[in-house]
Symmetry: C2
Amino acid sequence: MSSEGSFPADRPATSNGTGAEQLQHVVDLYGVMAYGELSAFERFSSDARFSPTLKDRADLGRLAVVEFGHFELVSAELARLGVDVQVAMAPFQASIDAFHERTRPGDWYESLMKAYVTDAVSGDFYRAIADRLDPDTRALVSRIKENEDQLTLLTTRLRRALEHDERLASRLALWGRRLVGEALTQAQRIGIERAFLGALLGLDDPAAQQTVTAELFAELTRNHSRRMNALGLTA
Amino acid sequence: MSSEGSFPADRPATSNGTGAEQLQHVVDLYGVMAYGELSAFERFSSDARFSPTLKDRADLGRLAVVEFGHFELVSAELARLGVDVQVAMAPFQASIDAFHERTRPGDWYESLMKAYVTDAVSGDFYRAIADRLDPDTRALVSRIKENEDQLTLLTTRLRRALEHDERLASRLALWGRRLVGEALTQAQRIGIERAFLGALLGLDDPAAQQTVTAELFAELTRNHSRRMNALGLTA
């Protein structure tokens, strides 16, 4: 379930610009993570209410609380850098809100799938970016995204639901595709608006930036397909 | 902000029935608390989304996470008693859900007020019951309801909003009255359905139970009025 892709480990590390630019990239990464985790917390905890059992409700609530813990961690790190977390989050609010608005779960299984897909894809995305940054940033990102327990809980619960339910399986397969599509659309929007994706990857040339971004997204999609297949779903 | 009432400290402690009955009362108290905290967590974290600033969102989210921590504490205590938390919560689900359905906040200020009123009134209610139970139960309840930080944050934020806004003040005064009315209605329903309010208070005689319950509710209402006045609102 961890970052399995070859991206971007096999690329030579290139310069990432000046110290100030580097700092801005770190702040951007933390800002998008902070808002991502804060809004995931709010969405998952309110979705928890629709769980089929009280146990499922408590389990989903617990996942939401973990997301809030991540938000607190990233906030503390931003504070250490002298950056207000509200300021760092602001540029990413529109894209992440749009993602959630466009992917409102129709029921509890869709919530579960959404939690799984967003956690996994955002984890890959953040890690791919952090791999290009300093060791401290990388460490924080992997600490936050080392969420095996969460992902295991989600996949176990999804597998149990899908086992004897072909209609649910085909519905969730479609839903998974839509989720990853929306996630990548918004990630791309963020990358373009903040001009930080390519820059983070250490490339000045817009054409090269585009190629690298396309490769990253292809990698994210491949990882997603692998995960869907592991659930017995056609990605 | 703590339990100021004289109820029930000035009543002589009477027998609370057999050990098995006592245990059932403790389980009932923990069950209602567990479900109360779990649903407060879900409601407040989803309401957080409508906060006027990102800072307010994070603050309200943090309060919700504290509620989830309480749920976990009570669950652990029930597990220690050999009782499944789902089973203990089930009898109280309908009443607490009804309370939330009937008090959907219209905006963020109403959410804030709801968080404040439910936290404070439920704290008084649980403490009044726990005062009749064993020291361990009392200790757990006061540990959970020792939420000065939460209440201070809520009152500070409410006071700031109310300072120069008379229309908001009169709207929130009405809203506060409705909240406490609904809370007491549901508390009474729980008391009657589970026949545990009077029994908890150590009285076998239904007429005496009714008197004591009425006194308790009068006390809860008085505490509520004091709190509203402290906010500059007419209760």
